[in-house]
């Protein structure tokens, strides 16, 4: 039941999103600057399970669940091998820490350690935080950014000693984190040798393939801005398309061709033109997945489309963490009521004018509280 029925006077809680019509070859996609993801899913309409299994047996690598004391990150050999290395990228994200109440610590692709701290932790920490934004002030949180790839951060220097002292005195207990490392060149997952005192568990980014049958699948023929009379109409159509995709990932009953719900419950209609009693394949990967691996999935998907394994459109959806302190680039992200940090790419089939499939609709979900800087 929507919030409006039982709380009619309250204003609508907007969740912001970015809708764009992108060229997959030239435009910057939301993939590369969104480092922390826990789930990736592909939907292939009108494709059989065997074909999908044959072409999409991507091994997305592995990740580690670790209990690490933050000062161990500054261990000289570990820093040199993984953090400050030119050809390896290490990514860390703290688990079970809520963005509105706990300290969230992440290490992003550029080697920056970002700590979104509570007031008391920041007062104890001892390193100057970034200037507070209005969102930070409202929640009394402080963001400390430390570039671990800085060449001045060498054992023996003042900077290093101070950082080490601060981490040791404030974060005395080990923190539960997820870690993954990829090779910057090949984009393949790498093993990490953890220093002493770190308890770790290696887990695979597991794939799960499912066939969904008996559903009404729209063809999304007229989803190009050129085919729509106005921009508003294109926006509305795109949002309807993304809504349908959302239902697919939920494996909702509303999609079924035989579904005849009571109008009091739902008056949902799939976007027209659509074809009834179709089937599609949903492939889901769960784990801690880095952007390089997602790019490889996207290229495999585009290959599939070019080889005509599937004639229609396809979709790639990625879910980020609700408690990540920032989303794309340096856009700050907060939870409050809706911490969405996800994006969807709806790849449209190639038209006769295009040489290859390249256009897609990108829908980035920013959540209810975000700060663009």
């Amino acid at each position: 039941m929507s919030r409006k029925t039982y709380l009619p006077e309250l204003p609508d809680l907007d969740s912001a999103a970015d809708l764009a019509y992108v060229d997959l070859d030239t435009n910057t996609l939301p993939i590369d600057n969104h480092p922390f993801n826990h789930q990736v899913a592909i939907f292939l309409p009108a494709c059989s399970l065997e074909r999908a299994q044959a072409h999409l047996n991507q091994d997305l690598g592995w990740f580690y669940q670790i209990d690490i004391k933050l000062s161990t990150l500054l261990d000289p050999t570990f820093m040199k091998t993984y953090v400050q290395s030119g050809h390896k990228s290490l990514v860390l994200h703290s688990v079970d820490t809520h963005l509105d109440s706990d300290d969230v610590i992440v290490l992003d692709l550029n080697g920056t350690l970002v700590m979104n701290l509570t007031k008391s932790t920041h007062e104890m920490f001892g390193i100057q935080a970034r200037k507070q934004t209005r969102a930070d002030m409202k929640r009394q949180r402080y963001v400390v950014r430390i570039d671990l790839g800085d060449p001045k951060l060498v054992p023996g220097t003042k900077m290093y000693e101070r950082l080490l002292w601060c981490l040791e005195s404030t974060f005395t207990n080990p923190i539960k984190m997820l870690a993954a490392s990829v090779d910057k060149v090949t984009g393949s997952a790498l093993d990490i040798e953890w220093p002493a005192g770190v308890s770790y568990r290696r887990l695979e980014n597991s794939a799960h393939i499912e066939d969904i049958s008996g559903i009404t699948i729209p063809s999304f023929d007229n989803l190009r801005p050129a085919a729509c009379t106005s921009e508003k109409m294109w926006e509305q159509k795109s949002i309807d398309a993304v809504e349908w995709l959302g239902l697919v990932h939920l494996k909702a009953k509303r999609l079924s061709s035989n579904d005849k719900p009571d109008p009091f419950v739902s008056t949902y209609r799939a976007p027209v033109p659509n074809a009834a009693h179709q089937h599609g394949v949903l492939v889901t990967w769960k784990g801690f997945i880095l952007p390089a691996l997602i790019s490889s999935i996207l290229s495999a998907l585009r290959k599939l489309m070019s080889v005509k394994v599937t004639e229609n459109w396809t979709s790639l959806t990625v879910w980020g963490f609700h408690d990540s302190p920032f989303g794309w680039d340096n856009m700050q992200h907060y939870y409050f009521v809706g911490g969405e940090n996800d994006y969807t790419l709806l790849l449209l089939p190639k038209t006769d004018e295009e040489s290859s499939q390249k256009m897609a609709i990108s829908y980035k979900m920013y959540g209810s509280h975000h700060v663009i800087q």
């Binding site: 008391s120 920041h122 007062e123 001892g126 390193i127 100057q128 002292w165 005195s169």
Partner: protein, 222 residues
Amino acid sequence: MEKPENLYQSLHSTQKDPIKDEAAVKSVVRDLVYETTSEEKVIQNLKPVRIDPSPESLGEAKSLKKKKMRKPHEKSRRLNARERRAFKVYDIPAEAHKYDIFVQLNKLWQGYMAEVYSQGANPSQFAQKLLKADFHGAIFKVIKSKNPSYVGIEGIVVQETLSVFKIISKNNKLQQIPKISSVFTMEMECCPGVFTLYGPQLQFRAADRAVKKFKPKPSIDL
């Protein structure tokens, strides 16, 4: 018949400069004042009344007024904070910025604390005594501060003022740590345990703290 007495006396002066002719004025005043009063003093204290409102005359009247309103306590005025600082009475000279010099002070303080502790080892009683104790010579460490650069500073307290602790650290650096933004910890040899002192609650001079009863603030938040 005799001629009646002339009641009117002419004040016309026969001299060249009539203004400076005081004889006539003196004689009039002599008649009016008491016998023992000196007419010269009376004339001195007389206020001149200017009939013509010329600018010079008005200006003189104003300056006379101003002189009267100025406070006469020039000699017994108190020094303000800027002047006090300029005298540098309470500053420790640069040659004395050495940790080794103050280690002896710390030893004295430890002895003083041992004496206080021996008077009553009950924790709550001891804590009350500590509130009134003198901290000169104690080893303080800043554990929390609104200003991150103060966190981690450890050393001997050299001076305590209303709002600041002056601490000298092992690398011979004398630093002023404001009380209002910091939380300190203190350890002593006689008693096990670490004592936490909340700076915003201790905004008193050392002498005042020993004597006055002070009310704690509602929150220990910085």
